[in-house]
């Protein structure tokens, strides 16, 4: 079986996989990182989104062998070692941007990439369009959009909407 070496959340792993093994299968079944979810089989729902070299990708549509040498970040790798949440995670909690939690890991990973790729900030409409690759059935996206709008300010070091909301 092919061998693949990849760095996941800062830890280097070498695993044996079939060539047909998807990245998400390697993460969930071999590395037991079950925070990355599978919600469809047509590459649309985005529950499986992780970062590969900093870019959001659907881990259900990449072979593990294609990730040789790459740097993968999953939802488990976002919070600081002391438990401090990433600003996007914190914003999702503050704005009630999750209900059942199933789409949440992919949604958060997509949202972070989206914010990173828009250093000048996004309008509500841009955020909505930017979430095209992620489905949520619980929230109606309403609070997800609000959370991302707040988190982008924190991530870009602008006025801290979160701090303000928390103070209220």
């Amino acid at each position: 079986m092919p061998q693949v070496t990849l760095t996941v959340n800062g830890t280097k792993h070498t695993v044996e996989v079939e060539a047909r093994t998807l990245l998400v299968e390697a993460l969930r079944e071999t590395l037991r990182l079950t925070g990355t979810h599978v919600g469809c089989d047509t590459s649309q729902c985005g529950a499986c989104v992780v970062h590969m070299g900093g870019d959001s990708v659907k881990s259900c549509t990449i072979l593990a062998v294609q990730c040789e040498g790459s740097d993968i970040t999953t939802i488990e790798g976002l919070a600081a070692a002391d438990g401090t949440l990433h600003p996007m995670q914190e914003a999702f909690r503050e704005y009630h941007a999750l209900q059942c939690g199933f789409c949440t890991p992919g949604m958060v990973m997509s949202a972070i990439d989206l914010v990173n790729k828009h250093p000048d900030g996004m309008t509500e409409q841009q955020i909505r369009e930017g979430l095209e690759g992620n489905l949520c059935r619980c929230t109606g996206y309403h609070n997800i959009v609000k959370a991302i709008a707040a988190a982008q300010d924190v991530m870009h070091g602008r006025v801290s909407e979160l701090a303000r909301a928390a103070a209220e």
């Binding site: 092919p2 998807l22 870019d55 549509t61 990449i62 040789e68 990439d113 690759g133």
Partner: protein, 265 residues
């Protein structure tokens, strides 16, 4: 997915050698079309040849009046390339609407072109812009390259290596997405080029991307949305599904053509 062998050559020559030795092997670049098909067990390649390690296939350069885009250039790179934005803003804008963020982070122009999905965006752009597709063996004009739904002039084992796009005077694109899949249900790319006005339609044709000659003639005479407003493509040449009948698509082609002209300015 059925299992297969995996190869990751470092050069075009090596890739071609592997593909030549095994006609059942399939090249993969971003894999945004191939992998979903494999997951549904729609095809069964003996081997997958990963082109992503071939550095020579990346990047955008301008050579005089032509943009040269390496086959492995990702949609996101096209959408954000300063060269593309300056030379053919409509192409960058189009790239920004392909699939979703995650598709744009992985999918490549060469992969999209070689696959020639009828609802893909790039084939319409390249056809309208009069691009030339360079392979490991030859150079093919877009008019000769796209041969119908999922069909191209590529021979088995032949690889797209770069796309050469003459910079147009102006160009624009508009599409109506399928509400479920988000692929183009009808898209129109218009370009005013040194070689004349060219109009290409994707998403709607029963046999894939095609040029709309009546619109080209009308726009050559009068570059305005009004010029194409009265031109309707024959629905019998279009496809239909639960989201869009051929008649609806025919209507949308006219609407999108008008919007593409407005988009081009």
């Amino acid at each position: 997915m059925y299992d297969f062998a995996y190869h990751k050559p470092a050069s075009v020559a090596d890739a071609v050698k592997i593909l030549a030795a095994d006609p059942e092997a399939r090249p993969i670049s971003g894999g945004m079309t191939l992998l979903p098909a494999l997951k549904l067990r729609l095809n069964r390649p003996s081997a997958v040849v990963d082109l992503s390690g071939i550095a020579e296939l990346r990047g955008v350069t301008r050579k005089g009046d032509t943009l040269v885009i390496g086959a492995l250039t990702k949609h996101y790179e096209v959408a954000t390339s300063a060269e593309v934005k300056a030379a053919i803003p409509a192409l960058a804008a189009m790239a920004h609407t392909i699939g979703d963020t995650q598709v744009r982070n992985r999918g490549t122009m060469g992969g999209s072109v070689a696959n020639n999905d009828p609802s893909a965006d790039y084939p319409a752009a390249l056809l309208a812009l009069g691009a030339t597709i360079e392979t490991d063996k030859r150079q093919l004009p877009a008019d000769e390259f796209f041969n119908g739904m999922f069909t191209t002039a590529l021979e088995v084992g032949e690889l797209v290596t770069a796309i050469h796009i003459p910079i147009p005077e102006k160009a624009g694109y508009a599409k109506m997405r399928n509400p479920a899949s988000r692929y183009a249900m009808a898209g129109v790319f218009v370009a005013k080029t040194a070689a004349g006005v060219r109009v290409a339609v994707n998403g709607a044709g029963a046999n894939g991307v095609f040029r709309e000659k009546a619109m080209e003639a009308a726009l050559a005479a009068n570059w305005s949305a009004d010029a194409v407003a009265g031109i309707k493509v024959d629905p019998s040449l279009l496809n239909g599904d639960i989201h869009g009948s051929a008649e609806y698509r025919a209507h949308l082609v006219t609407v999108m053509a008008k919007r593409a002209v407005v988009d081009a300015g």
